[in-house]
C-alpha cells in the first residue's frame, strides 16, 4: 500500500524512504504529517549530477518512527513547492537548500540567504562548485620523490580536472 499515487517505497539503511514525484511533494508531506509523522526533522538536497534529490526527514514523536521522503528536480532551473505551509520549521532548511544548491522553493515566505555572507556568488554544495582552497593552494603531492622530474604528472585525489590555476 502506498501513501500517495505514484510513490514508491524502499528501505534504505534500515529506514523507510518514499520516492515522491515532484508534483505530489506537498501532498505527500501533508499525508505523512497527518499519518502521525508530525515532527519535521530536516530537509536538504543531494547533487546527483544529472538532477537534484530533495530529501525530507520526518519523525513520529509517538511511535518513534522515521521516514524519509525524496523527490527529484531537474538540474536546469530547479524548483519545488515550499513545505512551509505544512511544516513551519521547513523555512530555514529551505533557505539553506536554496543558497547551497540553488533550488527555488515556490511560495517560500522569505528565501533570503541564511548562512552565506552577503554578496556570495554560487552554490557551494553543488558538485561543480570550485573550492577556492583547492585552487589557491599548490598541491604538496605534485613533487616527485627525490625531486625527480615526473614521467606522468600525479594528480590530487578527488579534485576534478580543470581546477588548477592557469
Amino acid at each position: 500500500m502506498t501513501l500517495i499515487e505514484g510513490t514508491t517505497e524502499t528501505v534504505e539503511f534500515g529506514q523507510l524512504t518514499v520516492e515522491v514525484p515532484a508534483e505530489a511533494w506537498v501532498a505527500a508531506a501533508t499525508a505523512a504529517r497527518d499519518l502521525g509523522l508530525d515532527c519535521f526533522d530536516w530537509l536538504s538536497a543531494v547533487d546527483e549530477l544529472d538532477r537534484f534529490d530533495v530529501v525530507l526527514a520526518v519523525y513520529s514523536v509517538e511511535t518513534k518512527q522515521r521516514v524519509r521522503l525524496r523527490t527529484r528536480v531537474g538540474r536546469d532551473a530547479p524548483r519545488l513547492t515550499s513545505l512551509v505551509p505544512v511544516f513551519a520549521g521547513a523555512a530555514w532548511h529551505e533557505r539553506e537548500t536554496h543558497e547551497m544548491f540553488g533550488i527555488d522553493f515556490d511560495g517560500h515566505p522569505g528565501p533570503a540567504p541564511l548562512l552565506l555572507p552577503d554578496g556570495f556568488e554560487g552554490h557551494p554544495l553543488r558538485k561543480d562548485f570550485v573550492l577556492a582552497a583547492r585552487v589557491a593552494k599548490q598541491w604538496p603531492g605534485e613533487k616527485e620523490p627525490g625531486g625527480a622530474s615526473a614521467r606522468r604528472r600525479a594528480r590530487p585525489l578527488g579534485v576534478p580536472e580543470g581546477w588548477e590555476q592557469a
Binding site: 604538496p140 616527485e144 620523490p145 627525490g146 625527480a148 600525479a154 585525489l157
Partner: protein
C-alpha cells in the same frame, strides 16, 4: 572566586591520536603520505644522492630535505600513518601543543622527531584474535608432517 584547580592530566584511552611523530630513518621520501593526505597538510622535499657501494655499482637514494605537518590543517584522520609502507609515521598521544601563532602549528622534522619520545609501544595482540601469521607458520613447520 575559587582557587583554580591544579590541571590534572586526563586519562587517555589507548591509541589516542594526539600528534604524529616522524622516524626519519624509515622515510624513503616516497610521497605516499603527502599524496594521500585529504587536506594537503604534509610538505615533503627531497633530493637524490649517489651512494658508492664497495664492490658494486653506485646507487641512487632519496635524501629528505624537509618534512613538515601543518597541524592547523590536519584533521587527525591518520591516513598518512596507515599508508606509510615503511613505518616512518606514528601516533603519539601528546596533545598539548597549542600555539599563539598559527605558523607555529607547522611542525618541522626536528619537532616531529621529538614526538617519537611519547609514542607508546604497540598494543598487545587481542587474545581472542587470529594467530599471527608468523606464529602459525612456525607452528606448522614444527608440527610433524
Amino acid at each position: 572566586m575559587s582557587e583554580r584547580e591544579e590541571w590534572a592530566q586526563p586519562e587517555l584511552p589507548p591509541r589516542s591520536r594526539g600528534v604524529i611523530a616522524l622516524l626519519e630513518e624509515n622515510c624513503t621520501s616516497c610521497m605516499l603520505c603527502v599524496r594521500e593526505c585529504p587536506d594537503w597538510c604534509i610538505y615533503l622535499d627531497s633530493h637524490q644522492e649517489t651512494v658508492e657501494v664497495p664492490g658494486g655499482r653506485p646507487r641512487q637514494r632519496n635524501v629528505l630535505d624537509r618534512f613538515a605537518i601543518d597541524y592547523a590543517l590536519c584533521m587527525y584522520c591518520g591516513i598518512c600513518v596507515e599508508v606509510c609502507p615503511f613505518d616512518a609515521l606514528f601516533w603519539s598521544p601528546e596533545h598539548e601543543y597549542a600555539a599563539t601563532d598559527v605558523v607555529e602549528l607547522t611542525h618541522e622534522r626536528d619537532q616531529l622527531r621529538e614526538w617519537l619520545g611519547s609514542v607508546p609501544p604497540p598494543p598487545e595482540l587481542d587474545p581472542a584474535g587470529p594467530v599471527p601469521k608468523e606464529v602459525a607458520a612456525a607452528r606448522s613447520q614444527r608440527a610433524p608432517g
